[in-house]
């Protein structure tokens, strides 16, 4: 007494179609070129690593070709590079960093354990790309502090910049709390006739502390 169809051939056929879909899924699956190898918290820790940065005075060895283990990469566009760059540096514009040609080159450098130093006009320009490379697992990438601008200003006395710390950013140049309150007094002589339309009745001392 069987009320149901006993032969599961349709079930088998459906499962086979299902398997084919899954195989198609595997075939069409695009392996991402890059994956994050460093967690968010780890990459925050990496930012604190002094060795992750490249200091201007370290450039001396590269320029004099003493250290072959360091590759300087200028990530500005080709025009800026043409107008002037750090001697011995190569130009890979930021837009081309992950293009097939260059990423293979960078992969090779990384595999060989070379130190790759990225620089832009200033630290900020290369900082993002550098963070990115760190996060996708390029351990030997560094960023040049001060960038090209700092190099240009000090190219004749790079050795002496060991004592100069002006390329270290994120240092407050002012005592903000003080300056922010007194800012006006410094400029008291200037004419304030043309004040832009602002709702002035709201004025108050700077809301220090936010809360």
């Amino acid at each position: 007494m069987h009320v149901h169809d006993l032969n599961p051939k349709k079930a088998l056929a459906t499962i086979i179609i299902f398997v084919i879909i899954i195989i198609l899924g595997f075939v069409t699956l695009k392996r991402p070129k890059f994956i994050y190898k460093v967690s968010l918290q780890e990459s925050i820790e990496l930012l604190k690593d002094k060795n992750a940065y490249f200091y201007p005075w370290q450039l001396v060895d590269v320029i004099n070709k003493v250290d072959n283990n360091i590759v300087l990469i200028d990530i500005r566009d080709i025009f800026s590079y043409g107008q002037g760059h750090i001697p011995g540096s190569e130009n890979i514009s930021a837009y081309d960093l992950t293009s097939k040609k260059y990423i293979e080159y960078l992969n090779r450098l990384n595999a060989e354990g070379k130190t790759v130093v990225l620089y832009g006009n200033d630290q900020l320009e290369a900082n993002g790309p550098w963070m990115w490379f760190k996060q996708v697992g390029y351990e030997n990438f560094k960023v040049l502090l001060g960038g090209y601008k700092y190099y240009l200003a000090h190219k004749d006395n790079l050795e002496e910049t060991k004592s100069d710390k002006s390329y270290i950013l994120e240092v407050p140049d002012f005592n903000f709390a003080e300056v922010a309150n007194k800012g006006a007094s410094i400029q008291s002589t200037t004419k304030n006739t043309k004040v832009p339309v602002i709702k002035r009745k709201k004025k108050k001392t700077v809301a220090a502390g936010g809360c």
Partner: protein, 200 residues
């Protein structure tokens, strides 16, 4: 890509057209598998017809493995799908009550609709019962409101509770299901020898 509606791929009133189509497919599968017959359904508890167990377990393991594969391919983002919230104690109690209802009525809500469709009076009565049951529940709801909300664990998955990856559950379920398929095949043969035929 998927799920389509939560990801905003499909919007507006297409929702309800899709709901209707999915429902039609669901109803068709239920009816064609024999779920419109309460004696077929109840057979699972007496060993003379394991259609419920077969359909149900096959569906669960196909869906589980399929969802895992599709999640891997990026077609369905499992993180974005709705996970049934867990209210442990009310759920256990509710399931026990449903178990009694299942054996007495021989239907569950979905199958009773299909039973109505092919003209089963017991299906109609069961659905009226459902209506009354929910009505009764709603009217007396204030009495066990606290119980209703007790044991809340959140929208947790098996992985959240046990820490074991979902794939292991899919695998375990598949092994158990396949083993039970073969096992019940033997039981069914054995029991059917003794039983008189039933009509539909």
């Amino acid at each position: 890509m998927g799920p389509l509606i939560p990801n905003g791929v499909i919007t507006g009133d297409w929702d309800f057209v899709i709901a209707l189509l999915i429902g039609i497919a669901f109803g068709f599968i239920l009816e064609a598998s024999g779920f419109s017959s309460s004696r077929n359904i109840a057979g699972v508890f007496y060993g003379y017809n394991f259609v419920v167990l077969r359909v149900f377990f096959t569906a669960v393991i196909v869906a589980m493995t399929g969802l895992l594969f599709f999640d891997y391919f990026g077609w369905i983002e499992l993180d974005k799908i709705f996970i049934l919230p867990t209210y442990l104690t009310p759920m256990i109690v509710g399931s026990i009550i449903m178990g009694f209802g299942f054996l007495l009525g021989g239907f569950c809500p979905g199958t009773s609709y299909t039973a109505i469709a092919i003209g089963k009076l017991d299906g109609i009565v069961f659905t009226i019962g459902l209506f009354l049951g929910i009505f009764l529940f709603s009217e007396t709801f204030p009495l066990f409101k606290d119980f209703y909300y007790s044991g809340f664990l959140g929208n947790v998955t098996l992985t959240d509770v046990t820490g074991i990856p979902a794939a292991w559950f899919a695998f375990a379920f598949t092994v158990i299901a396949l083993a039970s398929f073969w096992f019940t095949m033997i039981i069914e043969k054995h029991i059917r020898k003794k039983i008189t035929e039933y009509k539909f």
